[in-house]
């Protein structure tokens, strides 16, 4: 039971981090290596907002500040993502490897910016009072922060699903990603859709950043720890499928926790990655594939 909860918790964190990636990588074919740094920006945003409100309103401000910061972090990373798309990424559509490298350059700049502004020392976000306790069910105690993160992930997932499959914007987005020129002929402004899609992906990274701020101290390399797992989750699930990403990240999350009971955590990480890589040899396209007859898919 305890194991199950830990697995669920880790999976949800990976899922939240890879949700944005599933959109930018899966739909737009842009390998955003700066995704981890967007998470870092989100985490720092909640730190800043919390401190601001704490000085104005005292301790209760800090609690409100955290919840408020989730929305603000989304907005901030949304805007930065939009800017990045206009300046850099828009020139790199169709050049996947180059998009990977260019965004890596961006991530170097963002990391250094974080070091310049906040210093190399890690900072802490205080957990709001509502989330500090834990609920006991039977023998296991479920910590509130982790439950909150699971709920947050469920909300985000639902919102993304709704946005992608139930709104006009989502329909346009999928149309552009499937066949750009045809969509343009139908009168869809594909540049605008590209920009919005990338920004939403970045914004989701910001929300993920807020959630990892609850788990530990924040420094300039906090995003780096997630980048490998999130990419593997997206690739394992099958690029371009939301359900695949959900499944991929839960496989990584549960199996990491499972192996951790047997060996140390870093060995467990390595084993999980190796197993996934071996699995990808069997199915290079991932678990869920978009069937296509094209040669270079």
């Amino acid at each position: 039971m305890n194991l199950l909860f830990n697995g669920l918790s880790l999976s949800s964190i990976i899922l939240l981090a890879s949700l944005g990636l599933a959109i930018t990588f899966g739909l737009m074919r842009v390998i955003n290596m700066a995704h981890g740094e967007f998470m870092m920006i989100g985490a720092y945003t909640s730190y800043v907002i919390q401190n601001l409100l704490q000085t104005w309103l005292g301790n209760s401000g800090a609690d409100v500040g955290y919840f408020l910061s989730i929305i603000i972090a989304f907005a901030v990373t949304f805007l930065i993502g939009s800017l990045l798309e206009t300046l850099v990424v828009s020139r790199l559509y169709g050049r996947e490897i180059d998009s990977l490298l260019a965004t890596w350059g961006i991530s170097l700049i963002l990391q250094q910016a974080a070091r310049t502004i906040f210093g190399t020392q890690g900072v802490l976000v205080t957990t709001p009072k509502v989330l500090s306790g834990s609920i006991r069910i039977g023998k296991t105690s479920l910590s509130m922060t982790r439950l909150f993160i699971i709920a947050l992930v469920a909300c985000c997932l639902l919102l993304v699903w709704f946005l992608m499959y139930r709104t006009n914007f989502g329909r346009q987005m999928r149309a552009v990603m499937q066949n750009r020129s045809m969509a343009q002929c139908m009168g869809i402004n594909s540049r605008k859709i590209d920009n919005l899609t990338f920004s939403i992906g970045s914004g989701l990274a910001g929300i993920a950043g807020c959630s990892i701020a609850l788990l530990g101290s924040i420094d300039s390399t906090v995003g780096q720890n997630y980048i490998v797992n999130t990419f593997m989750a997206v690739v394992l699930g099958g690029v371009g499928k939301l359900l695949g990403t959900v499944l991929g990240s839960s496989i990584i999350g549960f199996s990491s926790i499972g192996f951790e009971t047997m060996t140390s955590s870093s060995i467990a990480k390595a084993i999980v990655l190796l197993i996934i890589i071996i699995f990808l040899q069997k199915k290079p396209q991932g678990l869920f594939t978009v069937r296509s007859r094209a040669l270079d898919e």
Partner: protein, 373 residues
């Protein structure tokens, strides 16, 4: 001019080699500091990795984000040999701390120098051969390969840290002398100079081998794979085998470079294996110019020299900004890197200007044809 165009790359490499060969002489006369020479030695190791990366990325179109792994395989092998020279073949202190009483079997071949050399070739060969065989056979390509190589390196990185009784975890192998003995201090300048020339010879050999390779039919097929993988398949070539061979070769280059590096550096840590460091290697190649061997060499030397001079002192903070920005701009606008700018973009610009000038000149002249009519 024609000669320059035809042999420009080799000429450029010769200039670099001569400049490097002069360095020890300057050292003995007291013009340069021994730390600079030591650093240039490391740069040569970096240039060798860069050549290896260029062979698979620039020529074959496989972007590996995990060459730090092979670099470290070579470096750890060499470092372990040097460490055990100091302990006279007995187990090292970190193994004792880790609870080992006997030398682990994996480090046994590194007791002798020939064994170490053999393992520096064999270990990356086997690892990269296995990885390459499965990945290329299943036609994993493009970014998927990059992501998988990145994940593999990360897995290896965490294993190296976790197995601290064998590898000394985060600290790595430190405080070791080179093969020839200590390099520090004015007394040991002779050692430094000898080692420097050894590294230079290795660099020249590897450059020559790569140069030979890319000009054979094999090299042409690599370029064909880069530009049209499926067409190469359909032409009857077994692309996966070609990819695998070049991948193994570049892994060996990286390991050789690692072995040289540890001699100059005197320590090796898992940091050199991390993804960040692996991508830094890619940055050298990208900025120098992918797809040309000389570009890789220039990139490795230039970036490292800049970093060496800038990252200490007041510029330390801005260095990250500079390198990040430089990298982004290179990727966005200058696909050929520095070599591309010199070779293609400047001549194209000059050509444009010349033709425009000619056109303007023509416009100013009276048009005689009309008058005759």
């Amino acid at each position: 001019m024609k000669l320059l165009k035809k042999n420009g790359y080799n000429l450029c490499f010769t200039v670099i080699v001569i400049a490097l060969a002069l360095m020890p002489l300057l050292l003995l006369n007291g013009f340069v500091k021994s730390t600079t020479v030591l650093f240039l030695g490391k740069c040569m190791a970096f240039a060798i990795v860069a050549i290896g990366l260029d062979l698979i990325w620039g020529y074959t179109g496989i972007l590996s984000l995990g060459h730090g792994l092979y670099f470290c395989l070579g470096a750890y092998g060499m470092g372990m040999y040097l460490k055990m020279v100091e302990t006279h073949g007995k187990i090292t202190d970190f193994m004792q701390v880790g609870g080992l009483t006997e030398l682990p079997l994996i480090w046994k071949p590194f007791l002798s120098l020939p064994g170490t050399f053999l393992m520096i070739f064999l270990a990356p060969l086997v690892v990269s051969g296995l990885i390459g065989y499965f990945i290329f056979k299943n036609r994993v390509k493009g970014v998927y390969f990059s992501i998988i190589s990145q994940a593999l390196t990360w897995a290896a990185y965490s294993i190296f840290i976790a197995l601290s009784p064998y590898t000394n975890g985060n600290v790595g192998i430190s405080q070791i002398q080179s093969v020839l003995g200590s390099l520090r201090g004015p007394k040991n300048e002779g050692n430094l100079v000898t080692l420097f020339y050894v590294a230079l010879v290795v660099l020249i050999l590897i450059y020559a081998l790569s140069y030979f390779l890319v000009h054979t039919k094999f090299g042409k097929i690599l370029i064909a794979i880069r530009d049209g993988e499926n067409r190469t398949y359909f032409s009857g070539y077994c692309v996966s085998n070609y990819k695998n061979v070049i991948y193994m070769l570049s892994a060996i280059f990286a390991a050789v470079a690692g072995a040289l590096f540890v001699n100059f550096n005197g320590s090796i840590t898992p940091t050199q294996m991390s993804i960040t460091y692996s991508i830094t290697m890619v940055i050298w190649v990208a900025i120098g110019g992918r797809g040309t061997l000389i570009g890789a060499v220039i990139g490795a030397f230039l970036i490292n020299l800049c970093e060496y001079n800038l990252s200490s002192g007041s510029m330390a903070e801005s260095w990250q900004y500079i390198i990040g920005l430089l990298f982004v701009i290179t990727i966005l606008f200058f696909k050929g890197g520095i070599v591309g700018i010199v070779k293609d973009q400047i001549p194209a610009l000059l050509q444009k200007r010349r033709s425009r000038a000619e056109k303007e000149g023509r416009d100013h002249q009276p048009i005689p044809v009309k008058a005759e009519e």
